[in-house]
Symmetry: C2
């Protein structure tokens, strides 16, 4: 604490991301990164963009990247917003669509950054408890509110809400903005983007960090009605005229265009997730039905915090959340087959 801090800053409890350790080489299954490298075409595009043009500001409107995303997703360019990672897109969305004094709703177990954004912008919220099986209860989101946000698939449970239920929530809250955070949707879920033409209150947020192996490049985007997108652009232009550098613009566009590579790598991750689940069950774990690039697992007899630490000791990093309801779970990112085999081998030694 410092006497010069603003009132808002004094109240803030920042989000804590998963660790990026440098002490030794780990099998890194703690921050839901993709185990496969980015598209070689994206890397080549980045190298090509690394030249004297860097002296010039990037395109402030991200016009070309928006165009590529729109083509790829079958939407209009004015339905696309681009930001410096989906965290930035989320932050702008809270500022753009939610008001202090009108509590928004999100699940009690979800991305733990949402309450931090609320603190930052002075927005009140109420949490809706997941049911006993960690499903998001649709009825909970049919009450009076100032806006709604949830992740689908949800984090860290990995559970996916079917599109009919998503649509019900969007439709029944037509006067409020409903934000669906689809960071993990490309690993088996279905995107709500097909609903944006129908519902002017629906905003879908995605990222290249997971499914396009570009966590290190920081590109997120939002899809929705042109009115919502204009709002996001106005917030962005009141914060930073140029949020995405020339290199990231070039690499992201090429990664999006390389659909064959995207399909291949996401299929590999889904394949790995499918065999990892039963293997973990054999070892005494109970798993949620995850459609994300991670599994969420609780062991019948062994304490999760103990397992987290023991795995770390043996060179395998996973994520443990010391929070009510989920403090006996581990979130384990899906790595390569080889990494998962090694992880299971280590677990066998521990159990």
């Amino acid at each position: 604490m410092n006497k010069y801090w603003s009132d808002v800053l004094k109240r803030l409890e920042p989000y804590v991301p998963g660790e990026q350790p440098k002490d030794k080489k780990y099998i890194k299954l703690n921050t839901n990164e993709n185990p496969y490298p980015p598209s070689p075409r994206a890397i080549e595009a980045i190298r090509q963009a690394a030249d004297e043009r860097l002296r010039l500001y990037p395109a402030p409107d991200c016009d070309e990247l928006k165009h590529v995303l729109a083509e790829n997703l079958g939407v209009k360019k004015e339905q696309v917003f681009v930001g410096n990672g989906s965290d930035e897109v989320l932050a702008f969305s809270f500022a753009a669509f939610f008001n202090p004094g009108e509590p928004i709703l999100f699940p009690d177990i979800t991305y733990t950054f949402y309450p931090v954004y609320c603190q930052l912008y002075g927005i009140d919220y109420r949490t809706i408890p997941l049911d006993a099986d960690f499903n998001i209860p649709v009825e909970g989101f049919l009450q009076d509110n100032g806006g709604i946000i949830f992740a689908n698939p949800n984090a860290p449970t990995g559970k996916f809400m079917d599109l009919a239920s998503v649509e019900k929530i969007v439709k029944e809250n037509i006067e409020r903005v409903v934000v669906i955070d689809e960071a993990y949707v490309d690993f088996g879920g279905q995107s709500a983007v097909k609903l944006i033409d129908k519902y002017p209150n629906l905003l879908v947020i995605k990222t290249l960090s997971k499914s396009h192996s570009l966590a290190g490049l920081r590109i997120g985007f939002a899809l929705g009605n042109a009115g919502l997108i204009e709002g996001l652009d106005r917030v962005k232009n009141s914060f930073n005229s140029y949020t995405i550098d020339r290199i990231a613009l070039a690499g992201a566009a090429e990664a999006i265009k390389d659909t064959a590579y995207f399909e291949k790598t996401r299929a590999k991750i889904i394949h790995t997730r499918k065999w990892v689940g039963p293997e973990l069950e054999k070892l005494g774990f109970r798993l949620t039905d995850s459609l994300a690039n991670f599994v969420f697992a609780s062991h019948a007899s062994l304490d999760s915090e103990y397992l987290f630490k023991a795995l770390r000791e043996k060179g395998v990093l996973v994520r443990y959340f010391n929070k009510p309801r989920i403090n006996n779970y581990l979130r384990i990112t899906i790595g390569t087959d080889q990494e998962m085999e090694q992880m299971i081998k280590v677990l066998k030694e521990l159990i």
Copy 2:
């Protein structure tokens, strides 16, 4: 306007950056970009960073870049904050140190993004008029306030306030944060960074966009007391865990290290500025005494808006601000000698 917009968004009037035209090739003297390419070492570092490591998140604390900046500037690492362009650093500073209901002070003529940040965060402000020669009046900043910000050299005047005056403002406002925006200081001014050990309320903000020819990479930074820097990091970690991508981290560090290149290119710009001024005066312009990488010029008989349009017509882009007190000025970025000769040739044809 859209019915889903928040109250804050409805009130926002976004900042409008200088145009980045694509219709034809211009001599581009409108957004204060550096005419020289970035350090070849920086470009090489970027190419080297373009590999499979992009699948991993960047260092959330920007540890290595902070270390390089600290070494280069002779400060401690905990006195350095890094952001996605100095606009982002400015935005975080407004959130971190200024409060609604406690009006901050800035000059009536300065970077026009400051009032936009105030709108975004609901912060009130009072403007202090520059004197008739466009100097920032020190006494104006010795009244009750909720914080102070100004650019030094100021924009778009280019005028520099001597460090003794800066120190007086900082010292007399020891209970408030004073932010000095030094985007242009490397072209002949003196940085207030040497005062940060002495004054816990001083924050100095700089950028690689101008003096390091890296507008396209988006790197800004702030220097100040560790308590202020911790505050900025907390705001950043409540907004976006990873604001700077791996490529930008690598390129920026190398650009900072290449001090020889930096010294060479900034000396060239200062040299060009020195001969351009008298040439413009010969053509009937009156100039402020700019220590920035631009000149601010008003013609004795010809209208600035006319000149702006006529120059554009002839392939030379400069910046015109249709604002009280400065609507008969042109802000002309210092380009290469060749570009400035061409600009003067075109002006001679027009006058």
